[in-house]
């Protein structure tokens, strides 16, 4: 214990003027983040301990109810349904986004396929489209009677599917993966190209098989960017409910009611701001804990 204090003290005395100058570089970013991210977060957390409503009598005088919102959550059937829907959505999306990202990054970094710039342009097209358009163009595709997808299926002689209703979760995941594979693809491709050729050549000289090269060179080296990317993706998926909102608004009998959508419904449709903030806090906690777990697993 004393040694720890000693080491901290000694490192403090070693602070030079230059270091302070450097540390001041953090200030603009920290100020922005503090004001526009941290403060609203804390404020919203505070809401979750009240019974505040967006409208009505409870808007004028909300009162602190301590943990009551969370107790209600524990007994809320829809909440638990929402939790399972969210896990289903986030996990499968994560897998899909990474798989697609990996496949496409392999195409982009391989030697044998030509036309890389065209490929890259096509692969990145969904990423470049502005967010407002993404749900709209897919709705036109997935409509049961007149949508492009079912029309194509009919031309091929296959039965039309009920994308918006029976396969709602699948459709939402498909759209999300379509929109979101670009980031893992870029990270993976960058990571793959940054591994020096020499490692592989040396390993090959030493008689290592392709599989050995993959597991002992490629995987360990790209582990960290991969995990960080996974954390970012998970956080994105757990927060964003645009696709389920546009497609099914919670789906047949809450099958696609993601936690983020549930929080929105509670806060802005039922006007129960306190309860909605409590759900938001749960989402944040889940994302946080899972993020830490992923890092631990990768032995960061």
């Amino acid at each position: 214990m004393i040694n720890k204090i000693r080491s901290v003290m000694s490192s403090l005395t070693k602070i030079r003027r230059e270091d302070i100058f450097l540390a001041s570089f953090f200030i603009p970013a920290l100020v922005l983040l503090f004001i526009f991210q941290l403060i609203p977060t804390v404020w919203a957390i505070q809401f979750s301990f009240t019974d505040m409503a967006l409208i009505g009598r409870k808007f004028l005088n909300p009162s602190y109810v301590g943990l009551m919102n969370f107790q209600r959550l524990a007994g809320d059937r829809i909440f638990w349904k929402s939790v399972s829907a969210t896990f289903e959505y986030c996990l499968i999306s994560l897998v899909w986004r990474f798989t697609l990202g990996l496949i496409f990054s392999l195409y982009l970094t391989s030697k044998i396929f030509k036309g890389k710039s065209v490929m890259a342009a096509i692969f990145l097209f969904p990423w470049i489209t502005p967010g407002v358009l993404k749900p709209f163009i897919w709705i036109s595709v997935l409509d049961t009677r007149y949508g492009t997808a079912n029309r194509l299926l009919q031309i091929l002689g296959l039965p039309p599917q009920s994308w918006v209703y029976e396969r709602a979760m699948l459709s939402a995941i498909a759209i999300n993966s379509w929109a979101g594979y670009a980031f893992p693809m870029l990270v993976l491709a960058s990571a793959l190209t940054s591994i020096p050729k020499e490692y592989y050549e040396i390993a090959e000289i030493h008689g290592a098989s392709r599989w050995y090269r993959f597991t002992h060179i490629t995987l360990p080296l790209i582990k960290f960017p991969l995990v960080l990317c996974a954390i970012m993706i998970f956080k994105e998926d757990i927060d964003d409910f645009t696709y389920v909102y546009m497609l099914t608004d919670g789906g047949p009998n809450y099958r696609t009611e993601l936690l983020s959508l549930y929080a929105y419904h509670k806060a802005f449709v039922y006007y129960k701001l306190g309860y909605g903030s409590a759900v938001g806090l749960v989402i944040a906690a889940i994302a946080f804990i899972l993020g830490l777990a992923q890092l631990k697993a990768a032995k960061f």
Binding site: L54, P252, N253, Y254, F268
Partner: protein
């Protein structure tokens, strides 16, 4: 980096700084000398805001204030996109930045009054000679607890549309006016038998409308409780059950998969549709997305009947409205009221309601083309029996749960009407509290 990229980078940084500082200065720092009174008008972006500009309401108002009263007024328009407009207005009020005069729908009025957001207009209205031009139901729609808070411009009840061509092909009488729900189901069954190509003979899944048609009161003002179980409510559930599950004249997929009912009606795949009066112009009118040629010959319209059981109303409809309210925190209530009066003027209302096929809320707005339109003349008669939905806090939750139960249980799982009603009662009790719900005999909670 290539020179091009460097140059672009430098250029964009310079532009960003220059642009940014100029705009920041003009919007955040620069304040004109406060000799002019500014009031803000909040409305929907696009069609609505453009209409106000076309009608030149604001310039005429500003001139009038200067000439008649020597007051220099500037009216600023705030807009929000049509999708989620009501939520935005509520968020604005909650944050305290809503406009002085606000265009809004009627549904959240009770809740907004309870939040203390709206100005009490009763003193103004009592001194207004035009107030009795407004239909009594409209006056009541804008009131809450005996005080007036909103003046409406448009209202739009629900009616039954049917395809005359399909009816004639199926041997059904035209013109058609059903007297009970059995009439509707019979007509739909006839269509289903004789014209099997028509995918959707009937679409009438409007839970609130059915509740009214059954004679359901929904809320008892005497003890302040919502009714969640009753004979009438069961009738409403049964109507949907019959239509969707028992006779199969309304495939559940229509609602669940959000088929475009207007397009289906346009294509002749839907024979009987319950929808708002505005569809006449805005969906099937000339030049509109779902245009139907020879609309007068092809599209028939009728009143939505009550269930047909004793005690149920003859016809049923409900209507909300869209109109203007005044912010309780406004600094210039008198000026806001003057602007509001201009915005709801008869000529403006008639000019707005005619092309959009809404109904006017005041008798003296029945002028010009609006007065001559056959459909609008007929539609106005619906106002005679049209009811108002209960104007109490929590009703919007009751309504939403009703919609959800029909969608998630009856249509999705084919749950029986009795079970649906029990589920509905449970959910409302959970959301609103056991002390705010009750059941009518012979049912109990």
């Amino acid at each position: 980096m290539t020179t091009l990229e460097k140059a672009l980078l430098v250029l964009s940084i310079i532009l960003a700084i220059g642009w940014g500082s100029t705009i920041y200065y003009y919007t955040a720092i620069y304040r004109p000398k406060p000799t002019i009174i500014t009031i803000t008008l909040e409305t929907k972006a696009g069609l609505w805001a453009d209409f106000i500009r076309e009608m030149k309401v604001i310039p005429k108002f500003e001139d009038k204030m200067w000439n008649e009263r020597g007051i220099l007024v500037r009216v600023r328009m705030i807009t929000a996109p049509h999708k989620g407009y009501a939520d935005k207005v509520i968020a604005d009020f909650a944050a305290g930045v809503a406009g002085d005069v606000v265009w809004m729908k009627s549904d959240p009025l009770p809740d907004m009054v309870e939040s203390g957001w709206l100005l009490d207009l009763t003193p103004y209205v009592q001194k207004w000679d035009k107030w009795n031009q407004f239909y009594p139901s409209m006056q009541e729609l804008g009131s809450y607890k005996e005080k007036v808070y909103a003046i409406w411009v448009e209202t739009a009840p629900q009616v039954v549309y049917y395809r005359k061509d399909l009816f004639e092909a199926a041997g059904l009488p035209v013109p058609w006016q059903p007297k009970s729900w059995d009439d509707i189901i019979d007509a739909a069954l006839a269509i289903k038998e004789k014209l099997p190509d028509v995918d959707v003979p009937l679409y009438a899944i409007n839970p609130t409308l059915a509740a009214i048609g059954a004679g359901e009161k929904m809320y008892d003002p005497e003890d302040g409780k919502f009714i969640v179980k009753s004979e009438e409510l069961l009738d409403a559930f049964k109507f949907f059950y019959d239509a969707s599950i028992r006779y199969g004249v309304t495939p559940p997929a229509v609602k669940l998969e959000k088929w475009d009912t207007r397009k289906l009606f346009q294509d002749g795949e839907l024979a009987i549709l319950v929808d708002g009066v505005w569809c006449w112009s805005e969906k099937w009118g000339p030049g509109m997305p779902y245009e139907i040629e020879n609309r007068e010959e092809v599209v028939g319209y009728a009143h939505f009947p009550g269930s047909g059981k004793p005690g149920a109303p003859q016809y049923a409809s409900y209507t909300g409205g869209y109109g203007y309210m005044i912010n309780a925190k406004t600094e210039h209530p008198d000026l806001a009221w003057e602007l509001l009066k201009d915005l709801v003027a008869p000529e403006i209302a008639a000019e707005w309601n005619y092309p959009t096929s809404h109904l006017a809320c005041r008798k003296d707005a029945v002028i010009g083309k609006y007065a001559e339109d056959e459909f609008l003349k007929w539609a106005t008669t619906t106002l005679e029996y049209s009811s108002l939905l209960p104007r109490v806090e929590g009703f919007s939750t009751w309504k939403k749960i009703f919609d959800d139960v029909v969608k998630d249980y009856l249509l999705t799982q084919g749950t029986s009407p009795e079970d649906c009603m029990n589920i509905f009662a449970e959910k409302v009790k959970e959301e609103l509290g056991a002390d705010r719900v009750k059941a009518l005999p012979p049912y109990s909670l």
